[in-house]
């Protein structure tokens, strides 16, 4: 059996005195989508950043396709080229047009020629419903369109896994749907994903596994129907009850 694409083994991370991750274990198999839920500040974002080596971990290890990536001897650049990251606030490059946002990583990161990068980027943009927008400045686009450009940018180099950090949290409600459609499209293709999200119904629909993160610990991990409908941990129960109440009001 092949090893999991991403294997997180007992990682911890503290910012100063504040322990954000207190020993996380989680494995994501090929073609699996894992949704991370939990309150703001529970460590979801930090966990994703640790995997993409944007944040150094304190203890434990992370493996990508069976190889340790959290070792000082490993080039973080090479690891990041195998992973796609989508940020909550899109973080598109405002000085570049839509097309160049996607081609920059392809040209500099994968050594593609400009023509190849452009061809591949145009395909990727079309796939996420952005054909004809490639020459525009990203600031002309709606939030939903910007986030789809960001997804195209992260997925353009065909990463081994996609890391999605609350990709709909900064969006107006009516724009959430189009971005979730883009994520669903990735899932249908069998892309391995780790998704931090506040969209419970989406987590239930797309994820094969849901993990509930509470104060830096994964207190409950299981299939969505179990974690979201019949949670065992009191913290998960409280979190989901609060969400339900908030929706009712």
């Amino acid at each position: 059996m092949s090893p999991p694409v991403i294997d997180i083994q007992g990682i911890t991370k503290a910012f100063g005195d504040r322990e954000v991750l207190k020993g996380i274990d989680l494995a994501i198999a090929e073609h699996q989508a894992v949704a991370l839920i939990g309150a703001s500040g529970s460590g979801k974002s930090t966990l994703l950043r640790c995997i993409d080596l944007l944040v150094d971990i304190d203890d434990g290890d992370i493996l990508l396709d069976g190889e340790v990536i959290t070792d000082p001897s490993v080039s973080p650049v090479a690891v990041r080229r195998k992973l796609g990251f989508v940020f909550q606030a899109y973080n598109l490059f405002p000085h570049l047009n839509v097309l160049d946002n996607v081609t920059l990583g392809l040209r500099k990161g994968t050594g593609m020629s400009a023509a190849e990068a452009e061809e591949s980027a145009l395909k990727m943009l079309a796939r996420f419903g952005l054909e004809g927008r490639e020459k525009e400045s990203s600031s002309n686009l709606s939030g939903g369109q910007q986030q789809r450009v960001a997804i195209a940018r992260a997925f353009a180099a065909r990463p081994r896994a996609m890391l999605l950090d609350e990709v709909t949290s900064a969006l107006d409600p009516e724009l959430v749907g189009e971005v979730l459609r883009a994520v669903r499209d990735l899932k249908d293709e069998g892309v391995t994903m780790l998704i931090a999200t506040h969209e419970m119904s989406f987590a239930r629909e797309v994820a094969d596994t849901v993990g509930f993160l509470h104060e830096g610990r994964l207190v409950e991990v299981g299939p969505p129907e179990q974690v979201l409908e019949d949670p065992q941990d009191p913290n998960t129960q409280r979190f989901l009850r609060r969400l339900l109440e908030a929706r009712r009001v």
Partner: protein
């Protein structure tokens, strides 16, 4: 009270009220401008020494005579300004980038950059022009660039403005959101590529107006190199001409030429700034 729907003439009423307000504002502005400016002019021309001042500073004949020479000198100023400015733009960026590195091996360079920025921002430009313009030739270097006043004066200006401009760039580098760096790293760029393709271009865009502001002061400060004997410079020519017949109109001539460059630059800067806010 009787309940009524919106009155149909509300829009016209509001527009009329706005017109009245605008007209009143315009009238007040016009009257106060005439009073203030007119008062100042009246104060100057009615003062007892005005005829003398008019003859020594605003003499049309002298103006006509001196203008061609001063303008020719000014052309030298412009050329010096352009060369110095280009070097300053590069030097400032290099210093700012060196200060932004974190590699331990580059510590000595970083230290030098900090010392450079601190010291050269602290020395008055005039003093630096003297120091370089008289100090270096006093070391008896071989004849050539190191004894050329224009080169030495330009070097002094470059050193001084390079330090200022490096601080402007540094502010620009800090103004780029950290998410931009993260995003660049996440798409697989190295630290250097991230700086070059993502951070620096945005930093430069963010500091356009303050950079242009430094251009304007540099343009004026080019006149300072006249003090180390660059006799072909506009201000120096004006000075020499004024001292022959004690008429200062040539200086006014030089001042007008400077304004002809700095005022359009200042307007450009304003427009740029407004465009960015919008």
């Amino acid at each position: 009270m009787e309940a009524t729907g919106p009155r149909p003439d509300r829009r016209a009423e509001r527009a009329a009220a706005k017109r009245r307000r605008d007209r009143r504002g315009l009238a007040v502005a016009a009257v106060s401008t005439v009073v203030v400016i007119g008062g100042l002019i009246a104060l100057i021309v009615t003062s007892p020494g005005w005829p003398d001042v008019r003859d020594t500073f605003f003499n049309a004949t002298v103006f006509k005579e001196s203008f061609p020479d001063v303008a020719e000198g000014f052309w030298l100023d412009i050329r010096i300004f352009i060369v110095v400015e280009l070097v300053v733009l590069v030097l400032g960026l290099v210093v700012a980038l060196v200060r932004a590195t974190t590699l331990p091996a580059l510590f000595p360079l970083r230290l030098l950059a900090v010392l450079y920025a601190d010291i050269f921002r602290g020395i008055p430009v005039v003093l630096l022009v003297y120091l370089v313009g008289f100090g270096i030739p006093a070391l008896d270097p071989p004849q050539g660039l190191l004894t050329n006043e224009i080169f030495l004066g330009g070097t002094a200006l470059t050193l001084s403005y390079g330090a200022y401009v490096s601080e402007v760039y540094r502010a620009g580098l800090r103004s780029v959101h950290p998410g931009q760096r993260e995003a660049a790293l996440a798409v697989g760029l190295t630290e250097q590529q991230t700086m070059r393709h993502v951070v620096v271009p945005q930093a430069i865009r963010n500091v356009g107006p303050p950079l242009l502001n430094d251009f304007i002061s540099l343009q004026k400060d080019v006149a300072l190199i006249s003090i180390i004997g660059v006799s072909a410079e506009a201000f120096r020519i004006a000075q020499i001409q004024s001292s022959t017949d004690f008429n200062y109109t040539p200086l006014l001539c030089a001042a007008l030429l400077y304004l002809a460059v700095t005022v359009p630059l200042a307007r450009m800067l304003d427009r740029w700034d407004r465009g960015r806010v919008r």
